[in-house]
Amino acid sequence: MEAALEIHDLAVYYGKRRAVEGVSLTVGRGEIVTLLGANGSGKSTTLRAISGLVRPARGRILYDGRDITKTPADRIVAAGVSHVPEGRDVFPEFTVLENLLVGGHTVARGEMDERLEGAFRLFPVLRERRLQLAGTLSGGEQQMLAIARALMTRPRLLLLDEPSLGLAPMLAREIFRTIRTINEDGVAVLLVEQNARRALRLAARGYVLETGRVVVEGTSRRLGEDPRVRSAYLGLAKGAAGPFMNRPA
């Protein structure tokens, strides 16, 4: 399978602090891949490096075979990589519509209406609330808006940073269903998620990061059976199994 995204030996430092140290991963075209790991393990930083929000100290990032390691963020967006930042980072004082228009910043004027229509089709609630300030939306609606905003450019690769963080389980499920719908249109997804169980159910493959390095990788099935993943991220003791033993990770 031709890769949508290939990362070789990525390292990112914030000053002297090493956030990411030698991460390599691939995301196939149309594939969903998840990045698991504790807080501060370098998941978000990896996404930021891909979308050009931080400059890697080392390593190469290829999107569709093209080197985008040093490409500025706006050109990466235009090339088809969209990033939904952590924490439902909507523009709170903008209306829903204005948020989407900024999402379409790199989109030609003539295409804007069609893109907006696509966003409202995917999230009908946003159409109802299009003139409401984004800061007054519920958490789930803000997350939908953040995703819809990222989709305005019709990306081929979507980077999602903790889309279910702080959401009620029902809303989280809905967000995950939507991610699947988006993926079914052929969009590759790199998903950072705290809820490892849910992420592994959605993704085909996954990588586990610890202090900036990949410690385990493989298919979701393999990761789900890996004892380290089970104990650290699925909240299961070694050997223990069954849905009744589950604790949130």
């Binding site: 963020a73 706006d74 523009f91 900024v102």
Partner: protein
């Protein structure tokens, strides 16, 4: 209702020179000039969070440019010196804005503060051009055969220019460019992730802000008729910052109201010249403490909008 209010407001503004004594016509012109600066500063500070304490410097560049052009080419239509002021000041804004892209907060404030001092020094040293400390007399502005010799005529020059700039600033928020600028203020990360080239827009904000202030400077030159470097000291820059804080960061109507309030206050406190920084400082602190969104947010609150 809104249209009626606008019409009444426009009529009041147009009729002002016939209702008020000349000094108050002059004062109104000054308010418009300051309002243009406040809008320009707000485009920079309110829209993209780049606080500037150097806008008196931009005003000086615009004022001297307009005065010099009008002196060199007597009788030239007033549009020419104003355009020259806009252009030159915008270029200076670009030259200052690009190195300032790497600076934030306090450091940016210091860099712009230094810029203000540099401009005054430059005016003092380029005395073959600016007549230095002696000051520069600004010739009467001309529009065709019409000489704008009185306060009333100058008011009618300043008012439409000011109105056009208010209109442009109001509409900026509805353009792709304006939205990108505001998005940077709302969330730099999200703006960047949406494909907004943050550095380019920051620099653009500097240029547009300088352009506004340059036009205001050109008008200022004709309104006051005499320029000297001490008129553009750091306290003037602080006054501009006070205008947008009192009026409301990021609000165009707030900029206008803030400029009006501070200009009138300035004028009525002329007798207490020595206490001016004290009084203005107190106003600044009070409005930041009790009215962080400025007068604009107070209006919004009264209208029942969410702030």
């Amino acid at each position: 209702m809104r249209r009626a209010a606008l019409a009444i407001g426009a009529l009041a503004l147009l009729g002002w020179p016939w209702a008020a004594p000349p000094y108050f016509v002059f004062l109104a012109s000054l308010i418009v000039v300051n309002a243009i600066v406040a809008i320009g500063l707000n485009l920079l500070s309110g829209y993209t969070n780049q606080l500037s304490f150097g806008h008196a410097g931009f005003l000086a560049v615009g004022a001297y440019t307009a005065a010099i052009v009008a002196t060199r080419w007597p009788g030239v239509p007033v549009v020419a010196p104003l355009l020259a002021a806009a252009l030159v000041t915008a270029l200076v804004g670009l030259a200052l804005g690009i190195p300032c892209l790497r600076l934030e907060g306090l450091y940016l404030a210091m860099a712009t503060l230094a810029f203000g001092f540099v401009v005054v020094e430059a005016i003092l040293n380029l005395d073959w051009l600016t007549r230095g400390n002696d000051g520069l007399r600004v010739p009467v502005a001309h529009l065709g055969s019409w000489a704008l010799a009185g306060d009333r005529e100058r008011y009618y020059l300043v008012l439409p220019v000011g109105a056009a700039m208010v209109w442009a600033a109001l509409n900026l928020a509805r353009t792709r460019t304006g939205r990108a600028l505001l998005a940077i203020r709302e969330s730099e990360i999200a703006a960047q992730a949406s494909g907004v080239h943050v550095a380019r827009y920051r620099a653009l904000a500097f240029v547009v802000s300088a352009l506004y202030t340059g036009v205001a400077g050109g008008l200022f030159a004709f309104v006051v008729g005499f320029l000297s470097p001490d008129a553009f000291d750091v306290f003037l820059s602080v006054d501009f910052v006070a205008m947008i804080i009192v009026g409301g960061l990021g609000s165009v109507p707030g900029s206008v109201v803030g400029a009006a309030v501070l200009t009138v206050l300035h004028d009525s406190l002329a007798g207490f010249q020595n206490y001016r920084p004290l009084i203005f400082g107190a106003i600044l602190i009070a409005s930041m403490l009790f009215m962080p969104g400025g007068i604009a947010s107070a209006f919004r609150f009264l209208k029942g909008d969410r702030v």
